[in-house]
Symmetry: C2
Subunit: 191 residues, 2 copies
Amino acid sequence: MSIVERKERQRAERYYLIVTTARELAEAEGWDAVTTRRLAGLIDYSQPVLYSHFKNKAEIMAAVATKGFEELAARLEAETLNADAGPQMLRKICAAYLEFADSRPVVYEAMFVLPTKIKFASEETPSALRAAFAAFVKAIGPDRQESVFSAELLWSALHGLVVLMQSERIPAIGAEDRLNLLVRKFSADGV
Amino acid sequence: MSIVERKERQRAERYYLIVTTARELAEAEGWDAVTTRRLAGLIDYSQPVLYSHFKNKAEIMAAVATKGFEELAARLEAETLNADAGPQMLRKICAAYLEFADSRPVVYEAMFVLPTKIKFASEETPSALRAAFAAFVKAIGPDRQESVFSAELLWSALHGLVVLMQSERIPAIGAEDRLNLLVRKFSADGV
DNA sequence: CACATAATCTAGCGTCGCTAGAATCGAACG
DNA sequence: CGTTCGATTCTAGCGACGCTAGATTATGTG
């Protein structure tokens, strides 16, 4: 079975190459620049090869998004380990989320803005995505009554900040102040 | 000058027809279905006529968005008149914002999600957009120290709720609870 | 009625996502 | 080693996109 194994390995390598190249091209010139022709050219294969790995272009972007979920989950979980529950952890998690969005804007876009077939908040949700959300719940306080709704609201606020800033609908100036406000409002006792 | 006036009036009517038809088609089948060919067909003119009114397709969508800003501003301002400042007004304004997004999802998308050349938070910002934002500031409490940052944060949270719900990234169930939480967090004293 | 200008259309360019069918490669076997 | 045949990959092309140049038609003017 050695030959078969080698072929499978080569296919896996090419799959990885496609996903990585798609991300790099998107990071360099935005998702609009990621056309199947350019992507195929960059990996030195013809267009149809892409379609032997992915059903369509959206699936390539979904693969980039999936890798992004894993990275985001890792970053958030790291923060839950390095701090006690409470305002400090909350702040670190929020800051880590914003930092991720800032450092990987196009991956963030694929994960949370562009149309996707990835299921959220369901049985089919990727485990990395569940883990990322769990970090929010933990930061909110896992045993509070409405902690899931609170976590969803916190995530919404962070996501709103990210996309409105990235699209220049709210000014870049004041990002720190808005983060401070957000943490204050979500760590206030009795709410 | 009667002939010239008639021509100008007819041009204005056709402009209005294009914008309205674009919105209706988007509402029926989404923005992807709004192609210049279909739009031209619906108004019984050829494609190039669109380009005698608008520089490109994005400008047509921007015109839909601009009308949306006016409607949103009107809805929010109505709420600032019908209630005293405080938690009640805050809740009404938030609810009105969410109701607008829910009733006109594709217009909302053109206003706040899709790439746009409309300037936010600058001197060139359309007056309707400024008025809508002013309603948030008023609801937060216009004379508070960080009321602009607070209003931006509130808007971010609302926008996050809207887009994450519309893209089915957070469940439809619980919308009321999340709104209640949001109002509580933003009306808590001392924050 | 003839003309000039403005309005509108036909036809086409380059690019997109995607795919059918031809061409090529490579492992297996006589 | 040479042939065969299935798997792999490529060439070429389809229909649709946004947009536009140049031909054509309509319209007001002398």
